[in-house]
Symmetry: C2
Subunit: 702 residues, 2 copies
C-alpha cells in the first residue's frame, strides 16, 4: 500500500468522539423513547459538557431547556445526535451545516440498508461539503466513557457508565451492546464504543485509527462484517501497530454459510474471508471466533504486560491440567521449554515426587506447604529465560487457609518482575481476582484461557517488535493494455525482478528449431496466444522435445492444434523454452482485490492449492521478512524444507521473488487486474518462473 | 476387534462402585488426615450403608466403633479403602482376602509411579487370586453420589455431595477434583466419580463400561492420559454407544510438547495421539480441548434432547451474533438451512426489516413486541424440518419487562415439541436459567457454546443411529514367518481380497522377457528382495520398459544394482508388472498398535502424507460404511472426487479394499506387525495395489 495516512483525518473526529457539547435533534421527554434515551443517559451520567435537547414542540425536555432548532442554541455545538424520521434528516442536516456543527450521529434507519442509496449519498455529500463528520445512518451511535458522552440509544446505557481501557468498534449496534454487557459482567468497561451502522462517512477504519491514537485505550475490539475502504482500514491497523495498541477482531463469514448469512444480513460488503484472515496475520490482528474469546483477550491486554518472548513456564497443582495447558500453549505457538537442570534439581529437593521439567507440578503437597507454589514460581522466574509464568492453582484462591499467602506472594513477585507476564488460572474469590488483576496479573477460571491469552499477547509483542518501514515501491512499469500473451506476461514478471526461464518466440518452424538449438535440448514448446488459457488441454504443449527436427515438427503440430481448437484465437507463433525439471512447483499470484487493492497470493503448485486451498495472502507491498513469514505459514511448508532426502528449496530466492512481485504490484496497482506466475519452480539454488498469465486494465478504470 | 465383552466383568465391580458397606483401613480420628477424610465424608453425607473404621490403636474413630482388623468386622464388607503406608498394604490386603472383601480402593502411593512395579504387580496378583477388584494404587478413589458412598480423600468432598447425572472417570485425581468443582460451580453434579490412579486392576475401560450400563448416568466424562488396555477400552466405548450414553473425553498429548509433558507426568502410557483422535471419531467420542468445554458438553447432554438431524434454525435479536453462530455451526458440520419461503414471508410480515432466511433476526423490534421471539421460534419449529432451534436473546432473560413472557413461551414450546432440541444463549438470571434447564432447554451465556453443544449432541445422535454390528472376520491366513519379499506381500494383500496388479516373478533375464511379453508392454521391473526396502534409491526399478529385449536387459541391470548396493541381501530375482498409470495414488496401511492392536491407516500417496500428515486411522475390523467415512475425513478428500476435470475415483472399490484389509488385519492380528499397500492406485473404475511391504511376527510374540 502507498502512504495512506492521508486517508484518515483524526482532528476532524474530535467533535464526534470528544464532544464538549451535544445537541439531541428530535429529543423526547420520554426517557425510554429513542429520542429521549440519549438525553436521559447524558443527564444521568452527568456528561461533562453541555446538553441541548432540540424539539420544536417543547419548552423543556427532561428538565433541560429545549430549542426549536439547532440554530437557536446560543453556543457552539460539537456533536448533534439525529433521531428524526428519515424524511426529516436532510432538513436538520442543513440546519446543522448553517449552525457550524462539527459532527453528526444519525440513528435514523431507512437508507442504504433498505436500498435507499441515493438518499444516503445526498446526506453524506451535504455533510462532506459542510465539513461535518457523519456517523451512521442506521447506527446505535457512540459513547465516550471518560467524558460520559453517551450518544447512543442502546438500553445498556440506561445504567451508569464506568470508564475502562478497551475501545470497541462495532458495525452492528446490537453486537456492540452485547459486548459491552459482557464487559460489565466481567467487571471491566470500555474507553469508547462506536457503532458505525451504514458507514456513509465515518467507518471502522476511522474509528480504529482514533482509538490507536487515544491514550486511554489499551486494546481495540473490532466487530466487523466487512470493510468498505480497505486501504484506510489497513492504514488504521498500521497506526495501531505503531502505537502498540493490540487489535482483536471478530470478522463474520469465516465459513460459506456464515458468509451467505452475513451477505443477507449486511449491505453487501465484499471481500474474501481468506484474504481478511491473511491480512489480520500480516498486521498483527488477533482474530477471535466467539464473543467470550473476543473480550477475554482484550481484558488480558489491559491487565497484563506483554511477554518479552514466547517461552512460558507452567506451575500447577494438577499434573493433568499442566499438560492440558502445555498442549494448548504448544498448539498456539508458545514454547514450553524445560527449566534448566539446576532449577529442576532444586524443585525436586522441595518435592521429590514433583514434575520439575515444565509444566512444574508441585502436586497436592501444596496443601501441606502453601509456600511451595511460590517457591516453584520463584524458580521459574529466576531461571530459564521465560517471558511468562502461568500457574494453575486449583481452588487455592478460595481456600481460606492458603489464599492470603499466595495472594501477597503473587503481588510481590509481579512487583519484583514487572516485565514478566504472570497469569493465574483456577477458582478464586472476587476479591482475590480483583487484587491480582490490580497488580497486573490476569486471572482465568479456565486454564486454557490463560494459555490462549498468553499466546495472543506474545503475538502482539512480536508484531510490535517486528514492525518495519514499508518497502520502497518502484515507479510504475509500462504495461500493455489489452490481451497479453505468455511472453508478455513473463516479460512483466522479469520487469518485477523475478527470475524467469529463458524463453524465445518462434514465428516459423525454422525459428523454433533455431531457438531450441540455441537454448539447448530438451526443450518445451507452447502455442503462444493471449486467447488460449488452457494450452495443454487443446494439445498446444510439447514437453521434452529432444532435437531440432522434433522442435520443427512440434511447431507445426501445436500451432495447428491451436487453430483447430480455437479458430478465432490470435496465434502469435510458439514459445520455446528449456525443459526445466526438479525443484518444487509453487504459485505466486497478484490479484486486485475489490476492497484492499493489490494482494499477493502464495501456495504450492498442483493439488495443494486446488484440493486443500492451502494458500496465503498479503497486502502489497511487503518486504522479504514478511514474505518469509508468508511462505512458512502454509500447511505444506515442509515440502519446501526438503522431504524424502530432497535438498531444501532456495527460500531466500523465493522470498525475494514474492517481495519484488508485491512491490511491482503496488507500483502498478492501477493497471494490473491479475498476474499469476504458475509454476514458479523453486530449486535448491535459485528459482524460475516457467509460465505466467497477465491481465491488465485501463489505468483509472473503476 | 474381536468380541471383547468378555474383557469386562461388570458384576465384580458392584462391591467397588455400589458398596453397601465400607471399611476404612488406617482410619484416623482427624477428619483432615487422609485416613480420616473418607470417614468424615461418609458420616457427614449419611452414607446409606455401614461404615467400619479399622485402626488397631483406637476404640472409636470419629464417633464410630473402630476395629483392630478388617477381619474383626462382624458383617460382610463390600469395599475396603486402604490408606495405610506402602509397606503395610500387602498385609491388609491379605486380611481383606481372608475376610472376603469384594473390592479395595488403594490411595497409597509408592508403586509403579515411582518405579516399584514389582510391588504393584504382587499386590494386583494377590487381589486377582482373591477375587478382589482393586482401584489404584496412587488414586483419589471413588464416589457414588446416589448412595453417598464417598470413598475419596479429595478436599472437595468435605462438603455435602449432591447426586447428578454425569459420570466422571479421571486418571488424575487432581483433575477429577477440579472437574467436580467446576460442575458444582455451574449448578450440576455427578452420578459417580472414579479416579483410577495407577490402574493395577480397575482401569478407565472398566469404569467407562460400568457407567455405560448405569441407569443414573446420562453422560460420561473421561479424563485420560493414555490407555493400558486398548481392546477393553474400545469394548467399553462400544457399550456406551449401545446404551446411547454420550462420551466426552479430554485426552492429553495432542501436541508433541504436550505428549512430552504427559510422558514425564504419567507412568509411560503408550499410543500415538493421532490414533486416539481417529478412534474417538470411530466410536463417536467427543474430544474436548479445555476443562470448560469438557464439562459444558456433558451438561448439555444431561439437560437437552439429542437433535434428530443436523439442521439448525437460529433465532436472534442481533444479526451479528446470528451470523457468528452460523459460522460456528457450519464449521462444526451443522446445516444452517434456510427456512421455507412461505415461513420467510410470514416472518417478514411480522417484521418487515427482519432477516428471515436463517439466522432469523427479529431485530430490536423485540423490545417493542416481546412476542416476536416466540413467533419466530414457532415458525422455525413448524417449518423447515429443523432438528434444533437455538435462540440468541441478548439480555431478555434478565429484562423484567420481557423475561416472564419468554420463559413461559419457551417452556410451552418445548413441551409441545419434546423431540426438538431447543437451546438459549444470552444473559439470564439464575432463576430463568434454572427453569429453562428444568424444562430440557440448556442455557449458555456464550452464543457459540450453544452451537458447539448442538453439534456435539447431533454427533452423538448420528453415532448412535449409525451403530452397526461388527463385520465378520475371516479365518486367519497362513502367513509366512520371517522376511517377506514384495511378491509375498502382494500375495497377502490379494488374500485379503484387495485387488492387486498382475505381477510375475522372473528368476532369469529370459523369464523376465517372457513375463513381460505375457503381461503386455510397457512393464515395470523391480528387484525382488525382502532385504531391500527402498528399491528406487539403489537403481532397482525400471519403469516403462517397452519391449522384450528391454526387459531382458533391465533384469540384468537391476539385479546387478541390487547386488552392488546390498551385497548381503537375498535377491529373489525380479518382479515384472504391467506399467499402470492414471488414477489417484493412495496408501493403505495396517499397524499393530501397542495399545489398540490392529489399526488401519488411510491417506493419499506422496507429499500429502509426508508433508501434511493428512492420514486417518480406524481400529480393525470395520465395514465399508466406516471405510467411506474414513476416506471422507482426510483433508485431501477433494482429490478423490475429481479435480481439474478429472473423473472421480472409484470410492466404492476403495472403501471395500479398506474394509477387507481391516478384516484381514483383525483375523491375523497376532501375526501381522505391519502391512503397507503403497501405492494403492484408485482409478475411475477399479483400483490396484502396485506395491506392498509385509512385516510378520511369530504368533504369540509379546
Amino acid at each position: 500500500m502507498s502512504d495512506h495516512s492521508a486517508l484518515i483525518d483524526l482532528p476532524s473526529l474530535d467533535p464526534l468522539f470528544r464532544p464538549r457539547s451535544i445537541a439531541v435533534l428530535g429529543a423526547s421527554s420520554s426517557p425510554t423513547k429513542i429520542g429521549g434515551r440519549p438525553v436521559a443517559a447524558l443527564i444521568r451520567n452527568r456528561f461533562e459538557g453541555a446538553v441541548y435537547p432540540v424539539n420544536p414542540r417543547s419548552e423543556t425536555i427532561q428538565g433541560l431547556p429545549a430549542f426549536a432548532s439547532v440554530k437557536d442554541i446560543p453556543a457552539p455545538v460539537d456533536l448533534a445526535i439525529c433521531t428524526v424520521p428519515p424524511g426529516a434528516v436532510m432538513a436538520v442536516l442543513k440546519e446543522c451545516a448553517e449552525k457550524g456543527v462539527g459532527a453528526l450521529v444519525v440513528f435514523t434507519s431507512g437508507f442504504a440498508e433498505v436500498g435507499e442509496h441515493a438518499a444516503q449519498e445526498a446526506m453524506a455529500g451535504l455533510a462532506r461539503e459542510a465539513g461535518i463528520r457523519l456517523m451512521g445512518p442506521n447506527c446505535m451511535g457512540m459513547v465516550n466513557f471518560g467524558s460520559r458522552a453517551v450518544g447512543s440509544f442502546h438500553p445498556a446505557f440506561a445504567e451508569d457508565v464506568v470508564p475502562g481501557q478497551i475501545g470497541l468498534v462495532s458495525q452492528s449496534g446490537a453486537f456492540g451492546g452485547v459486548a459491552y454487557m459482557l464487559a460489565r459482567e466481567r467487571g471491566h468497561s470500555l474507553s469508547y464504543m462506536f457503532t458505525t451502522g451504514n458507514e456513509a462517512d465515518v467507518d471502522i477504519g476511522d474509528c480504529t485509527a482514533f482509538l490507536a491514537d487515544d491514550p486511554d485505550t489499551k486494546a481495540i475490539l473490532l466487530y466487523m462484517e466487512g470493510c468498505r475502504n480497505g486501504p484506510k482500514f489497513l492504514a488504521a491497523l498500521e497506526r495501531a501497530r505503531e502505537s502498540e495498541t493490540p487489535v482483536i477482531a471478530v470478522k463474520l463469514g469465516r465459513t460459506e454459510a456464515g458468509a451467505a448469512a452475513a451477505a443477507s444480513h449486511t449491505a453487501a460488503l465484499a471481500g474474501e474471508d481468506a484474504v481478511y484472515d491473511s491480512l489480520f496475520r500480516q498486521f498483527g490482528v488477533y482474530r477471535a471466533d466467539s464473543i467470550e474469546e473476543f473480550f477475554d483477550i482484550a481484558r488480558s491486554c489491559v491487565i497484563g504486560s506483554r511477554p518479552v518472548n514466547e517461552r512460558v513456564a507452567m506451575v500447577t497443582v494438577s499434573g493433568g491440567v499442566g499438560v492440558l495447558m502445555a498442549d494448548d500453549a504448544n498448539r498456539r505457538g508458545l514454547e514450553v521449554a524445560p527449566m534448566p537442570e539446576a532449577a529442576q534439581r532444586r524443585m525436586l529437593e522441595l518435592v521429590p515426587f514433583a514434575a520439575a521439567r515444565n509444566p512444574i507440578d508441585v502436586t497436592g503437597q501444596v496443601l501441606n506447604d502453601p509456600t511451595l507454589l511460590d517457591q516453584a514460581i520463584e524458580l521459574a522466574t529466576g531461571h530459564g529465560d521465560y517471558g511468562s509464568v502461568v500457574s494453575f492453582q486449583g481452588s487455592i484462591g478460595r481456600n481460606p487457609a492458603l489464599m492470603e499467602a499466595t495472594r501477597s506472594a503473587w503481588i510481590e513477585r509481579k512487583a519484583a518482575n514487572p516485565a514478566m507476564h504472570f497469569a493465574v488460572a483456577g477458582f478464586c474469590t472476587p476479591d482475590y481476582t480483583r487484587d491480582l488483576e490490580a497488580a497486573g496479573i490476569p486471572v482465568y477460571e479456565e486454564a486454557t484461557h490463560a494459555t490462549r491469552a498468553i499466546a495472543a499477547l506474545a503475538g502482539f509483542a512480536r508484531s510490535f517488535r517486528e514492525r518495519r518501514p514499508r518497502p520502497a515501491v518502484p515507479g510504475a512499469a509500462d504495461l500493455p493494455v489489452g490481451p497479453v500473451n505468455e511472453l508478455g506476461a513473463l516479460a512483466a514478471v522479469a520487469a518485477a525482478g523475478v527470475p524467469v526461464a529463458p524463453a524465445r518466440r518462434a514465428r516459423t518452424a525454422a525459428e523454433a528449431g533455431e531457438a531450441a538449438a540455441a537454448l539447448g535440448f530438451p526443450v518445451v514448446l507452447k502455442v503462444l496466444s493471449a486467447d488460449i488459457a488452457h494450452k495443454s488441454d487443446i494439445g498446444g504443449v510439447r514437453l521434452g522435445v529432444a532435437d531440432r527436427a522434433g522442435a520443427e515438427a512440434a511447431f507445426g503440430e501445436i500451432v495447428a492444434a491451436g487453430r483447430a481448437a480455437r479458430p478465432d484465437a490470435a496465434i502469435d507463433g510458439c514459445l520455446v523454452a528449456p525443459m526445466v525439471t526438479g525443484g518444487v512447483e509453487t504459485i505466486l499470484g497478484v490479484q486486485r482485490d475489490p476492497v484492499f487493492g493489490p494482494i499477493v497470493m502464495f501456495g504450492l503448485g498442483g493439488l495443494f492449492v486446488e484440493a486443500l486451498k492451502d494458500v496465503t495472502f498479503r497486502a502489497a507491498p511487503f518486504d522479504e521478512i514478511e514474505a518469509r513469514a508468508m511462505i512458512e505459514s502454509i500447511a505444506a511448508f515442509p515440502v519446501l524444507t526438503g522431504l524424502r532426502g530432497q535438498p531444501p528449496a532456495d527460500l531466500d530466492t523465493l522470498a525475494a521473488a514474492l517481495s519484488r512481485l508485491s512491490r511491482f504490484a503496488a507500483a502498478n496497482a492501477d493497471t494490473i487486474e491479475s498476474l499469476d506466475v504458475n509454476p514458479f519452480l523453486v530449486r535448491p539454488e535459485g528459482a524460475l518462473a516457467l509460465d505466467a498469465v497477465l491481465v491488465t486494465r485501463p489505468s483509472g478504470a473503476p
